[in-house]
């Protein structure tokens, strides 16, 4: 094993540990190489030692934990790094929520099946976010080409939403009704308001004025919720 080769293996291992975001075992690291180029265990262990040395005096270190090796922020800089996470968490995107809802209602489900229903692709990030949050897990791989993972919700998911079982979620049919009921209520309220005004024409004029007043103010892409558009 020459110097150059060793350096290459070291770079690949380093990159993999940084990209994985989870601990990797020596075997998992060896699996990154094709058969003909796969370094022996001792070489890989030697490379890990070199990597450990290369982190001397830097902000991170190589750590061996139960499930393998990982890079970890050094304790002495942690107080500063911690401030990164003090800010308010961002909200999940609509795509993430839709994906989560579909996993809850249609589990066990593959990513492809989610994409079929949603009509758009589901990015790996979304799945990763949900897996990291431990709201979904992989329960197996479907016996079709590509052997895609099948996702299901977890105990933690139920706990977070205060459910003792999935049955406590409203059935799909009710969700549709929810929407219909919402529309009906809105129509009723609208009817009532128009009923209240003595002169229908005046009310219409006022409505029209209200709309034209609103439009320059409101951002063009702001999807106005029914509450804001209808009455104010």
């Amino acid at each position: 094993m020459n110097e150059e080769n060793l350096k290459r293996i070291q770079n690949i291992v380093e990159a993999a540990l940084l990209a994985a975001g989870r601990p990797l075992t020596v075997d998992q690291l060896r699996d990154l190489f094709e058969d003909h180029e796969r370094p022996p265990r001792q070489v890989l262990e030697h490379v890990l030692m070199l990597l450990d040395e290369s982190c001397m005096g830097r902000g991170f270190e190589l750590k061996k934990v139960a499930s393998g090796y990982r890079f970890q922020i050094r304790q002495d800089v942690a107080p500063w790094v911690r401030r990164l996470f003090e800010e308010k968490p961002q909200r999940y995107s609509r795509a993430t929520l839709e994906t989560l809802a579909l996993i809850a209602y249609r589990q066990p489900i593959t990513r492809g099946e989610i994409e079929d229903i949603r009509g758009v692709t589901v990015s790996s990030n979304i799945i990763r976010t949900l897996l990291e949050r431990e709201w979904v897990r992989i329960v197996g791989h479907k016996d079709v080409p590509g052997r895609p993972a099948m996702y299901a919700t977890t105990r933690q998911f139920l706990d977070y939403f205060n459910l003792s079982s999935l049955d406590e979620l409203p059935p799909l049919a009710e969700i549709r009704d929810l929407e219909e009921i919402g529309r009906e209520i809105e129509q009723e309220i609208q009817a009532e308001i128009q009923f209240d005004t003595p002169d229908g024409a005046v009310q219409e004029a006022a409505d029209a004025e209200g709309v034209s007043e609103l439009s320059p103010d409101t951002s063009p892409d702001a999807n106005l919720s029914p509450e804001t558009t209808t009455f104010h």
Partner: protein, 294 residues
Amino acid sequence: MTESDSGAGAVQEAALDVTDTDLPEAGTAGMPSATAEEPIAKVDGKPFAELPQDLYIPPDALAVFLEAFEGPLDLLLYLIRRQNMNILDIDVSEITRQYMEYISAVEAMRFELAAEYLVMAATLAEIKSRMLLPRQEVEEEEEVDPRADLIRRLQQYERFKKAAEDVDALPRMERDTFSGSAALPELPRGSAQPPVDLRELLLALQGVLQRADLFTSHQVEKERLSTRERMSFILSALPPDRFMPFEALFTREEGRLGVVVTFLAMLELVKEQLIEIVQAEALGAIHLRARLSN
């Protein structure tokens, strides 16, 4: 097929492939008579068989062919490139002739043709006829090359076609590079996670339902979620590549309702071909196995 980066090239290859072997059959028996007649009328009296080989598209390839092009401009560019013509110096009548051949072939095969292709056919025909007019007639106006607008559009499209390839070639996350991260030493996490309200989740679902008509299936409406939950549970409980005794999945504590739910979940899993149930001999023990790995 639209996923292909070099769709046009691939089709050309495919077309050549089939032409080499299947041409005699496809040309005579394989194609409806309408196709055989139409091109003849277009090619200044030349018989159909003398069409340039790479122009001939076997019937099977036509559907693929249509998908491979991103519209009439893309098709025109392909024709121009294949003739080694310069966009700025197109031989309109030659390109029009080839374009029409493609269009009529597609039409003869009764494949649905996007309206844009027909509009382009009309445009080409118009340009061709204007180029045939004597020059003096347009002298009044500024003398404009009738091809000018088409050339402008072709150039414009070609530069963005190229730009799309350039963008695709840019080093991209999750393909050419990955962001590097390291774990934190025991830091209290959790508070950094976005809060989600159940209502939000349901509203999101409603959004999907509006788009995908899940309600068309009655079975979905009646289905109890506990069954699906139990399906996930069974899948994760089954050891990989090994059989598990049927009874092991039932627990006494759950009572009758639990047994029913588990049983329904098993049936659903069998129906969706996710597990198989095996009984080696009559009245023997029943075993389950996942039809999946890991």
